[in-house]
């Protein structure tokens, strides 16, 4: 891969991760747990309704729609950031 493109992608993922972490901080009591490998459903004490609301807010932030089958594949914050990056690319 072209190194400048790779850097752009990395920067994009970092920006997405930052927004995800910001969104999660307001929803969890222990924000120290929030990292790339954090399992969203298992590690943060969020129930399915809280996660749904979190996804809706991310959709608004990134102006994308995340299909349910994509959400089902996501486990970690890193997975989610990658999925959002792909959806942004598809929408562009």
């Amino acid at each position: 891969m072209n190194s400048s493109l790779s850097t752009q992608n990395d920067d994009g993922i970092k920006a997405i991760m930052l927004e995800i972490q910001n969104q999660l901080r307001s929803r969890t009591s222990d924000s120290t747990k929030i990292g790339p490998q954090t399992n969203i459903t298992r590690d943060l004490g969020l129930d399915s309704l809280a996660i749904m609301d979190f996804i809706f807010d991310l959709e608004d932030s990134f102006d994308i729609s995340i299909p349910m089958e994509r959400i089902a594949e996501v486990q970690t914050i890193s997975d989610l950031a990658q999925a959002i990056a792909i959806l942004q690319k598809e929408a562009a």
Binding site: S48, L49, M52, F56, S65, P67, M68, E69
Partner: protein, 439 residues
């Protein structure tokens, strides 16, 4: 030694905690059904306030007689699907009667309401299509999404603008877009802002399917539901519904005015691979459906009853769903108190539903009642009285939303059976003849 059931260990623990305080809400067994609104439970006469029996038709003499005749002439069951074993006259007659009732071109019968949503939605939305569903959709709609090959996108509950944003993102994508909403939502009894949804679906050229399960027989001058009530039937592409609520039996259907819908019979797995409704069920459904359009007196009584319960509980200071409807739900944050209230009502001879997260909006614990036209004012007044008394003991209501006279009466030695529902309060009281009024 490990067991195949080990994965349910945490669910077992939750269930044990739930039943420790009394009965299990999911395992109630009635000893005898006395009427649409009463049953014997543990030797006690119990008022049924959680049955969705909106018009009280389960004991309707004509419907029962029709079912008995069908049982004797056509037998106890069809023993197979219509695709494999053929249809009975009653299946086709009921489909024609449904189409005529809705003034639409065609109808397809399913064996349950769950299967109607499962079979209709999964077949209508194919591989290259998009399903857009309300976040608070019934499990049958969510399960239909899993069975469908379409991409599934959720929008915020009852939020046409959120739907519009999602359709805007799809506007250049090929494939059909099918929007799925419900008329009255089963947990809180809140209603879809139908006209706003119709504007959005028209703007983006999407199809709209509405599940009228809780509004058939309940809303509209002729009982056709929310779409009739809003004068919007010509803007709806598909209606699904059930016979297990106002119709008083079991079964489901899909109706549409779009030509060519019959092909669904050959692609809908929940239609093709299950036994068709038995003759007795079809006969009672036909009899009751034939009476729905003329049942305006029952509808009037239903809404009066709903207003009595809603206003009575609101006056007592409970937090309820946002809209007056025959589904009246008390919203509670505390699991233990919700379970105690539900058990207390049962001990006092009032059966309601206890709905728990994650099946409920916002993680609430819901003490859910469904009102019937067959309830008497005395039955409803008793339910309000008992609920208020236990609510006060548990600190669930401080009567802060109600007038003090009402509270004094409830704390007194002999409260009037109707006091809770007839006292004026300082909060807006929904009118019984304005079913869609939002509060």
């Amino acid at each position: 030694m490990s067991s195949i059931f080990d994965k349910f260990a945490s669910l077992q623990e939750q269930h044990a905690a739930l039943t420790a305080a009394g009965k299990s809400p999911a395992e109630i067994r009635f000893d005898e059904i006395i009427s649409p609104t009463e049953a014997m439970l543990d030797g006690k006469r119990t008022i049924l306030m959680g049955t969705n029996n909106y018009l009280g038709m389960t004991f309707d003499e004509e419907a029962v007689d029709a079912a008995i005749t069908a049982l004797k002439t056509e037998g106890t069951g069809t023993t197979g699907s219509r695709i494999a074993n053929g249809s009975y006259n009653g299946h086709e007659a009921l489909e024609q009667e449904l189409a005529d009732f809705y003034g639409m071109r065609s109808a397809i019968l399913f064996s349950t309401g769950y299967q109607a949503n499962l079979g209709a939605i999964s077949a209508l939305a194919g591989r290259d299509d998009y399903l857009l569903i309300d976040a608070d959709s019934h499990a049958s709609i969510y399960d239909a999404c899993r069975l469908s090959d379409a991409q599934v996108i959720r929008f915020r509950h009852n939020d046409p603008q959120n739907l519009a944003r999602k359709l805007e993102r799809l506007k250049d994508k090929p494939g059909n877009k099918l929007v799925v909403i419900e008329s009255i939502y089963s947990m809180l009894g809140d209603m879809a802002p139908l006209k706003e949804f119709i504007e959005v679906k028209k703007k983006y050229g999407a199809y709209l399917l509405i599940d009228e399960a809780h509004s058939l027989g309940v809303m509209g001058e002729k009982g056709r539901g929310l779409c009739e009530h809003e004068g919007a039937e010509s803007d709806i592409d598909f209606v699904t519904g059930t016979f297990s609520k106002s119709i008083g039996t079991v079964g489901g259907f899909l109706v549409s005015d779009l030509p060519g819908m019959d092909i669904i019979r050959f692609v809908s797995r929940p239609y093709m691979f299950t036994a068709s409704p038995p003759p007795s069920v079809v006969a009672s459904a036909r009899k009751t459906l034939s009476r729905i359009a003329g049942a305006s007196a029952l509808r009037k009584k239903l809404w009066e009853n709903a207003a009595q319960l809603y206003n009575g509980l609101q006056a007592a200071g409970f937090e309820l769903g946002p809209t007056l409807s025959p589904i009246v739900a008390i919203r509670l944050k505390d699991a233990e108190k919700a379970i105690t209230l539900w058990n207390g009502l049962l001990e006092a001879g009032v059966y309601t539903n206890l709905a728990l997260p994650p099946a409920t909006p916002f993680g609430w614990y819901l003490l859910r009642s469904s009102i019937s036209a067959a309830h008497t004012p005395e039955q409803i007044a008793l339910a309000v009285e008992v609920c208020t008394k236990i609510g006060l003991e548990l600190g669930l209501t401080t009567l802060s939303n109600s007038n003090k006279a009402n509270g004094a009466a409830l704390n007194g030695a002999s409260p009037s059976p109707s006091s809770a529902s007839t006292e004026a309060t300082d909060t807006a009281q929904p009118e019984a003849d304005e079913p869609a009024a939002r509060v």
